[in-house]
Each structure stands twice: as structure tokens, then as C-alpha cells.
């Protein structure tokens, strides 16, 4: 049927998976860190909704802290992710990697703006712009998370051979 075995494409490559560069004992660091910003930014949306409905200052303070720690851990996750992205040509060759990278930069920029909005006092620190930014952050996170899933589960980025 086939005279020549086609050169392995990135989609179906079983020869060598794109390796992660920032790793500890073969475990990539980036997936260890991303849980923190994801949980923090989703939590921010929930506490913003709670503040919107109750006007209880505690929820707005929760949001501010969640954004702060989400940004700190997200910054660390971004460093690990960028090291993987920039130091491996085969990762950069994957379209989902670009969507994942650019989308998550958008997430961090949105969260940074959101932090400044949340630094206002009382109602205007959340409603409406803070709440809208929190929701946008989570929507973009859903997309970038899906792209990250494509990178690992379809393209085996960081998976051992």
C-alpha cells in the first residue's frame, strides 16, 4: 500500500514527545503551578458575585486577595511556561501552544487591571467593571485551559516517551 512511511507529523508523532525544559526530576513545573492561578481567578469570580449580591465587604476583600495571589502564582507559572515554550522548537511549532501562551498573557493582563479596579473602595471596586473583568478572565481561562489540554493530551508536550 504505502511505499514510504510518511514523516512523522506533530499530530501523530510517537517518536519523541516535545519535552519540557523547566522541570523537576522529569516532572514539568508549569502544570504544578497553573492550578493556583486557575483556582484563584475562578474564586475571584465567585467572590465578586457574592459581593454583588450581598454588598458584604468581606467578599470584595476576598476578591482582592485572590487576584493578588493568582497574579503572583500566575507569574511564576508563566515563567515556567515561557521557558518551556521558548526553549523547545517543537513546542513552538504547535498552534495550540501559541493560543495557550497568548491567551494566558491576556489572562494575566486582565487580572492585573482587575487588581487595580479592586483597589478602589467599596461598590465600584467590583460592580460593574471588576465583575466584568473577573468573568472575562474566567472565559479566557476556559479557552487557554482547553488549549493546554490539547498540548498535553493530543501533542504529548512534556509527556515521557
Amino acid at each position: 500500500m504505502q511505499d514510504v512511511i510518511p514523516a512523522a507529523t506533530t499530530e501523530t508523532s510517537t517518536e519523541t514527545n516535545p519535552a519540557s525544559t523547566a522541570r523537576v526530576a522529569t516532572h514539568p513545573i508549569h502544570p504544578m503551578l497553573v492550578s493556583f492561578p486557575i483556582a484563584c481567578f475562578v474564586g475571584t469570580l465567585l467572590t465578586d458575585l457574592a459581593y454583588w449580591k450581598t454588598a458584604e465587604m468581606m467578599w470584595a476583600d476576598f476578591s482582592a486577595w485572590l487576584l493578588f495571589f493568582g497574579l503572583v502564582m500566575g507569574g511564576l507559572a508563566a515563567i515556567a511556561g515561557l521557558v518551556d515554550f521558548l526553549s523547545n522548537r517543537s513546542i513552538r511549532a504547535l498552534p495550540p501552544a501559541w493560543f495557550h501562551m497568548i491567551g494566558n498573557v491576556v489572562v494575566l493582563v486582565l487580572a492585573l487591571f482587575n487588581s487595580f479596579v479592586h483597589s478602589r473602595d467599596a461598590w465600584t471596586s467590583v460592580v460593574p467593571s471588576g465583575l466584568i473583568l473577573s468573568a472575562l478572565t474566567v472565559i479566557v481561562l476556559l479557552f487557554t485551559g482547553w488549549m493546554g489540554g490539547s498540548m498535553v493530551f493530543r501533542h504529548h508536550v512534556g509527556v515521557m516517551n
Partner: protein, 187 residues
């Protein structure tokens, strides 16, 4: 900046709260000077003409620079008069009280530093507020210092701590109330 040569002869309000209040009032004045004065009639009644609400990502901050007295520097006084520093090295003197015998009590006070951090913003706020103090955290404050010039030569022989461990004491009258409340009641 950072010079501690506070001169008692001029009531120099260098406390943090006062500095901030001055900045705030100054900002209000500036804002007020920007536009010509509106018709007062538009500002009273059931539907006053209020300025539009403004929201900022980073609020405008105008913190006045702290200018300390240089060593030996003093205000100029009229001919025939002289002026001298009664005390130097005070920590944020806020107000004075001269007792009937001529003793001077200086109320030194600053923030006690016990305010809780409620939001991440509070870290940055504390940092910005520290610009408004003279020389930052320079030592013990929140106390009342006694100055006694018994021989009347203008240089006090006694400078001692009269009361300490006070929190943000800003005025004498509240202390007077404390004295009153501590007076033993006749049984």
C-alpha cells in the same frame, strides 16, 4: 529630609495624619482653583449640580515633600528679637502645652503601627504614606516630653519623657480627661 531638628518655637505639624490632611486639603484647593467658581445657586436645593463621578485605576497622589530644618536653621524674626530652638530631635511633635510654672509638654505622636492589613492595597498605601513622614521610622514616638527651663535662659535644662506608650495622642485635652478620670473618687 530626615533631619530631626524640629523647632518648638514654630508649631511644626509633621505628624503623618496631619501631613496627609494637608495634602488632601491642598489637593482640594488645587481642584477648586481649576475652574471658575460656579453659581452658588446650582449647588443648593433638592437637585444640586454635583460634579461627575471619577474612577481611577491609580488614584492621583500628590504627597508633599518633607523639608526638615537644617542644623542651626531658624525662622527670621524682627530686629530686637531673637529666636532659638528650645528642643531638637523630637519625634513627630503634634502639639504643645505650657504649664503654669513654665514647663512645656510636647505631645509627640505617630501611627502606632497596629492597623491590620485588610487588602493587598494596604501594603502600597502604607508605603506611599511613609513618604509624608519626616525621615520615616526614626524612633520612639507616641509619648509626651517634658521641657523645663527653670532659670529662664531659653535653654531647657530638663528634657525627659513625661508619659510614654501612648497611641497617636494628638491633643492635650484628652489627656486632661484621663487625669480627671484617674483622680481617686471619695468613698
Amino acid at each position: 529630609m530626615g533631619s530631626l531638628s524640629d523647632l518648638i518655637c514654630r508649631d511644626r505639624k509633621r505628624g503623618l495624619a496631619v501631613s496627609l490632611a494637608v495634602c488632601f486639603v491642598g489637593a482640594l484647593c488645587l481642584a477648586g482653583c481649576d475652574e471658575s467658581a460656579p453659581d452658588p445657586k446650582t449647588q443648593i436645593g433638592a437637585n444640586p449640580d454635583l460634579p461627575a463621578q471619577q474612577r481611577y485605576l491609580v488614584p492621583p497622589m500628590h504627597v508633599a515633600a518633607v523639608v526638615g530644618w537644617k542644623q542651626g536653621e531658624a525662622p527670621t524674626v524682627a530686629d530686637g528679637l531673637q529666636i532659638k530652638a528650645v528642643a531638637v530631635g523630637l519625634q513627630h511633635p503634634r502639639s504643645l502645652y505650657v504649664l503654669p510654672n513654665g514647663d512645656i509638654l510636647v505631645i509627640e505622636s505617630k501611627a502606632p503601627g497596629t492597623e491590620p492589613i485588610k487588602r493587598p492595597k494596604d501594603f502600597i498605601m502604607k508605603w506611599v504614606e511613609s513618604w509624608a513622614t519626616s525621615g520615616g521610622d526614626t524612633g520612639e514616638s507616641n509619648r509626651i516630653t517634658l521641657l523645663r527651663d527653670a532659670d529662664g535662659d531659653g535653654v531647657p535644662e530638663v528634657k525627659s519623657v513625661f508619659l510614654d506608650h501612648l497611641n497617636s495622642r494628638s491633643a492635650w485635652h484628652s489627656l486632661e480627661m484621663n487625669f480627671t478620670s484617674q483622680t481617686p473618687m471619695p468613698l
